[in-house]
């Protein structure tokens, strides 16, 4: 399987994603510079975390007009698998590939810590190796992860089962205390209606190896592999 990792000016988790794909999964990986206007031969695209364009104007807002985004949209329209992690998630919502928006964290702070999240759905290319309702631990590192959507959109994504990950406590309870950033419904990750585009605020690529003390994110990438 060949993964493309899109690099924007200011991306900083691109190498982590590349490393996991190449050295942990043993798959092909290639960086795609954001100026590319033609991308071919990829099975999955990853928009990594970071601070594309210094988060100017709004997180992800400038990156959505990078030339490569036209290609990313076409790839997604044709059913290709697209993953946006952290800043990548912010870019996907700004670009309209995912509904809603990610706002400044409720307490205005940049939060960098491990968090429990519950896998809400596993009939899905990115989570099929997790159990439905399983609680996993992944690091978050963001200042703008507060998911917001209007009532109508929120109801729609709920009814369609598009909410894939929610912040929870160690026992899987969805509580206000377990919500780090004020996200509506404790949302940590959602997908599009066609279920081929996923946005996730936590970083599975930062917890995919024993040496890092946590391998909960490894199955995220293995799920993608197994669904291919």
């Amino acid at each position: 399987m060949k993964f493309g990792i899109v690099v924007f000016p200011g991306s900083n988790c691109d190498h982590d994603c590349y490393h996991v794909v190449k050295n942990v999964l043993g798959q092909e990986a290639e960086y795609i510079w954001h100026k590319e206007t033609q991308i071919n031969g990829f099975d999955c695209l990853i928009l990594p975390g970071g601070f594309s364009y210094g988060d100017y104007l709004r997180t992800g807002a400038i990156a959505m007009f990078s030339p490569v985004m036209k290609e990313v949209k076409e790839f997604a329209d044709e059913g290709g698998l697209v993953i946006g992690i952290c800043n990548g998630f912010q870019i996907l919502v700004e670009a309209g590939l995912l509904p809603g928006v990610l706002m400044r964290n409720k307490d205005l702070k940049f939060i960098c810590e491990n968090r429990y999240i519950r896998v809400e759905s596993n009939d899905f290319p990115f989570t099929r190796l997790y159990k439905k309702g399983e609680v996993v631990r992944m690091p978050i590192a963001h200042a703008d992860g507060n998911y917001f959507a209007d009532d109508e959109t929120l109801k729609r994504i709920q009814d369609n089962g598009q909410i894939i990950f929610r912040y929870c406590d160690a026992d899987g309870n969805i509580t206000e205390n377990a919500n780090p950033n004020g996200s509506l419904l404790n949302i940590a990750g959602i997908c599009n209606e066609k279920r081929n585009v996923l946005g996730i605020m936590p970083h599975p690529e930062r917890c995919a190896e024993d040496i890092l003390g946590n391998v909960d994110g490894k199955r995220f990438f293995e799920s993608v592999l197994s669904s291919f």
Partner: protein, 79 residues
């Protein structure tokens, strides 16, 4: 020609920055500051084009990039 664009959060969208500033104003004695909403002010220097065209273009700029209409409203004036 100059376009002055104001981007503000929609009603009902929580504004933690505004809240923090309101608390701060209150703590330094401005009890009358009941609510604070923080927005963005953007000034664009435009080429000399007819005003109706400029209005159309600036509206497009707001819709496409300057505001995220999921959470923000915008208004502008052209001078």
């Amino acid at each position: 020609m100059i376009a002055k664009v104001y981007v503000t959060l929609k009603k009902g969208v929580l504004d933690p920055q505004g809240k923090a500033v309101q608390h701060s104003l209150e703590s330094i004695g401005y009890k009358e500051a009941e609510d604070v909403r923080i927005g963005k002010f953007i000034e664009i220097k435009l080429a000399d084009i007819p005003k109706p065209d400029a209005e159309k273009k600036v509206k497009e700029m707001c819709e496409k990039l300057l505001a995220n209409t999921v959470i923000e409203n915008y208004r502008f004036e052209i001078l």
